[in-house]
Symmetry: D2
Subunit: 351 residues, 4 copies
């Protein structure tokens, strides 16, 4: 793509990841928002659903069916899982050169049988599934560059896969002994009117959810198994914390071959040495989720446990940025051959 701006559509623009895509795209020097869809709010100006954009010129919200697929170069799909695969299939038929960055879970599992097992229905676009690339830029950069359809991973998986996969690949930890205790801010649960997301239901308290059986486990399985070159399963527990943004994942791992925390730290530091969005803290230092808020950064810490052979790996991202919309744009940059950090250099907003 030349210096011309990429023409972008955001499907499902009224949710939090949609709003975050718009925030980032509006300041992206190589992108231009051409279409915004939201079924319930079609016909409304965008500032009606996100008043922070008052006074900014943006397309009016339209229904998905009103989208002119030929008028855009790439669409971000911030739609519910299950329906996304049908939508993308339809658009890909209409506009074969159209690129897709899907923020839903629909194309993340390479194995359609696994998809059916975890999501309870057969995949509706198996042929597209076959070409979809798992959009973890730091791991699949080269494949993403050539992809038409990227399945951009979510917040829990991005944060923990980036923390753990290099360690498994290096043979530094036992892939069968990984425990992920993850805490997320409330935006991770979306913007739908759910009783259990009301302010007074979730403020001033903390709780686990989806314990023992959370759909994102399937992505951990897939990626950890690929890294280990054999099937492995991890233990994962998600918790909801009273804050808007942030994933904070505490990983309990067991080293192999006599490795200690120093070795694990070195493996990760080497892996991420040239990565613009990953900050490796010095050995023994602990990250805080608030220090990545609003940025596309991942901060990583490694601390030795007093139990020999056990190490604690701490990882934090902003679930709406590196865990969703920022990473989606990072994928877009790769797909268009833009510099990977284009439009993603915002610093964290702390406090």
């Amino acid at each position: 793509m030349s210096e011309a701006k990429a023409k972008i559509g955001v499907l499902g623009a009224s949710g939090y990841t949609g709003g975050e895509l718009v925030r980032l795209l509006l300041r992206h020097p190589r992108a231009e928002i051409k279409a915004l869809t939201a079924e319930r709010h079609a016909g409304a100006p965008y500032a009606k659903v996100f008043p922070q954009f008052a006074g900014i010129a943006l397309p009016e919200l339209v229904k998905l069916e009103q989208l002119d697929a030929g008028a855009v170069d790439l669409v971000f799909c911030a739609l519910p899982h299950g329906t996304t695969q049908v939508v993308i299939k339809g658009l890909a038929e209409k506009a074969p050169t159209l690129k897709f960055v899907d923020l839903s879970a629909d194309f993340r599992l390479a194995d359609p049988a696994l998809y059916e097992k975890w999501y309870g229905h057969p995949h509706q676009a198996v042929e597209l599934q076959a070409e979809a690339v798992y959009g973890l830029c730091e791991i699949y950069r080269d494949k993403i560059r050539k992809a038409r359809l990227v399945a951009s991973p979510g917040c829990f998986t991005t944060t923990s896969i980036l923390a753990i996969v290099p360690l498994i690949e290096a043979g530094a930890i036992d892939p069968d002994q990984v425990i992920i205790d993850s805490k997320t801010g409330m935006t991770g649960a979306g913007r739908a009117e759910k009783h259990n997301m009301l302010f007074s239901e979730v403020s001033e308290g903390l709780h686990a959810y989806g314990v023992g059986h959370h759909r994102h486990m399937s992505e951990f399985d897939q990626e950890f198994s690929l890294a280990a070159k054999r099937p492995v399963v991890a233990t994962f527990t998600a918790h909801l914390a009273p804050m808007n943004r942030g994933i904070y994942a505490t990983h309990y791992v067991r080293t192999l071959g006599g490795a200690g925390a120093e070795q694990l730290h070195r493996v990760l530091a080497d892996f991420y040495r040239s990565e613009p969005f990953v900050q490796m803290l010095p050995l023994g230092e602990v990250p805080q989720s608030r220090h990545v808020r609003g940025s596309n950064n991942l901060q990583l810490g490694v601390v030795a446990d007093r139990v020999p052979g056990k190490v604690i790996v701490l990882a934090t991202t902003d679930n709406l940025v590196k865990g969703a919309s920022g990473q989606a744009i990072q994928n877009m940059n790769l797909m268009f051959g833009f510099p990977e950090t284009e439009g993603l250099t915002q610093l964290a907003l702390f406090p």
Copy 2:
């Protein structure tokens, strides 16, 4: 003790656990607050440090040295660790029948060598240490009844020892494979002017602290080893969550002898069947910290992991009540032969 009210002193009454002791004691039918100490605020009315008590008759704050040890039957020590042992030693010499409930860590470790190792200096009251009883009522009830000095355990330890010890004792889990991922509200860090406890430093975010080397580990070691009848060490990570109150502990355990989540649930349900302050949730249900806020309750949940042989045990308390001042009063009730729930029947304040 007859129907007369017990005369109580609260040492260190200007901190959060001090304020919580006063809140509970003021409505305790068998207790009367006779003295409140606070070094920096000596001479001030109590409502100056805790304005919620405006209009309530309470003794003025005095310095510790002004305390008339003969005028009280029992003192609660909500003082910093290290100094508490010296204070209690002095008072015990002056008033040999005086009873003590210590909320600091000073008398919790039965082994003085262990104390010295974790706290960095020799214990100053080794003879009192020898008679001190670890004040976990559900486990040491009989000893507490006869004790003169009770070391009331803190929030992390109360919550997780009550969740784990019955399982170790029953031989249901591997005591060498216990991982405790605990999250606490901010009051757990006390009321001192610390930079890292300012609102804007800790709101809207989450982080681990004391990773790999937290003093409360020594109590886990002590109690888990007693239960296992051999030395065991656990992995423990504390996190600070943006809420005032609440401990939420997620325990990853490995079953023994082919046990599953059902068996673990049954062990805990049996153990706590008659306990007034422990609520066992049905198998598979997950507690929330906000549902115990302000109460002396512990809510416990047991969920099977999809990894066979692994189970997740969830436990939550209010760190200032069951994790501090409520449990301290529960200990007092036992020491005086009062009904154990006296003064502790407040229901949780949710939302």
Copy 3:
């Protein structure tokens, strides 16, 4: 009523004011909960809608139509306005001796024309309206004692009427120049699934709502006019603050007859001298909403403005207790001849 316990029904028990009624009634020595209604949750145990009550014996939730009106002495109506008047009318016909404490707005306006103007439809129980008593105990205590139907006022009105009416009655302030700037916690908006009450929509920010035209203005008009003995209107703005509980009202008033802040302070101090639930702070001191949280208290402060003749009156309550369920029980106590503080002596939970 003899020493027997009053038999109580709570209609609309699944909302926050319902839950708060249950919390308080369970520890009320003279009340027994006999029925709990909630349309959508009928058939469920109460701990399903409020898990903090796990393990406590309570009637199962039933539909309103299943209520046996003859089996209860008093019902609290925590139902939506508009429908409440029809429900109470029906129950009063079935059970003429049944007493009612209505927490909705349905019977608060004595003038049916005014009701119709503000609520947009004719009142459906005009004859009951005529006998209803406005349940502000500190002002209408004698009438409440004899009432069958008490319209218990809400949080904004309770807080500000108690702050302002004694000043108008004493002729100390200009009733035409009262400005009420009030801030409420989120529970004031109820427990319904509303988009604009999701955690991420309302945390970390503040905004006004219902500006210029809020229904509670009609109650200010009614009570301020009664106090002034002529029609007056006040300016009132409500704001939503990111906290669960609390009303914090800042009143800007203009003194009459050369009065200053001292005189206003004295008027209020005299008026509330013997009131158990009102704490008058010393002149110049400022209350905080957190210091009444969970209690039935009102804290009042009076501060001189530097502009002569202007005074700032600050008032705070817990919107769910003195602003709703606590006051409703205070009304019940009066109606049954119980001590007015019975069941309402819980101290504030701070922090």
Copy 4:
């Protein structure tokens, strides 16, 4: 200044306004940070005091006395008031062409007598005071362009002066009848270790402070009097709300000459028509503080009260951006002849 970058020093870089200056300057295309001072943290890397900047090249923190005044073109002073005037005086003597944007209150009051009255000591740099320009860009743009020393106003004053001054100047409201009820987030209170700013002291509650006698009143007096061309005093009350960022000011005004809300809306809309950082909401719409978070925007709403002649004007900014560091950079842009929005185009971070 040519296309070369301006060389910038940030004095007092370890506080919240210092951190916010760094956040914005790092992405400013025409500015380069050459020096960062912080007395207590001198010698530390900047990421030690603000870990969100981990991995970013920045000068080490130095003491003020180590600053090379000749090496910078402009300094931002984020220092405590009182000491700032002495610091600036000293630097101006050493480096006469150095420009200053002062974020403290030291140079905001044009009248030294007024300064002495409100701050309790004589001004130490009266001659500099004489040349200082009040840095409210939307009002004093032309003077700022030529200034060497700009006194950048703070959050309360920026927000309310921008809301009220155009209305006074237009003769649309009675300048003697302005009431400002303002609510601020916690960062407005700074980053010092104060007991009353601990998380648990201020979360989950709200309170007024500085009632009747707040230093910022002096700036309201100065600017409102200038607009009215005669001395006027306003009533102002500040409140602390449990959120990190945001000023939300509710203004109660009385119209003149029969004007209504429409006229006031028109006055403000006309005044701000071409202003890039001010968004005028449609008549009757109400802003929310969260929708300007992280941005340099001011959102303004005008709503009619039901009391004739009374209007409510609502204004909100981010106290750290438009209320501090963003405005300071806006001033710098004017002083250097840069485009006024340079480096300030970040969109609000919501949620």
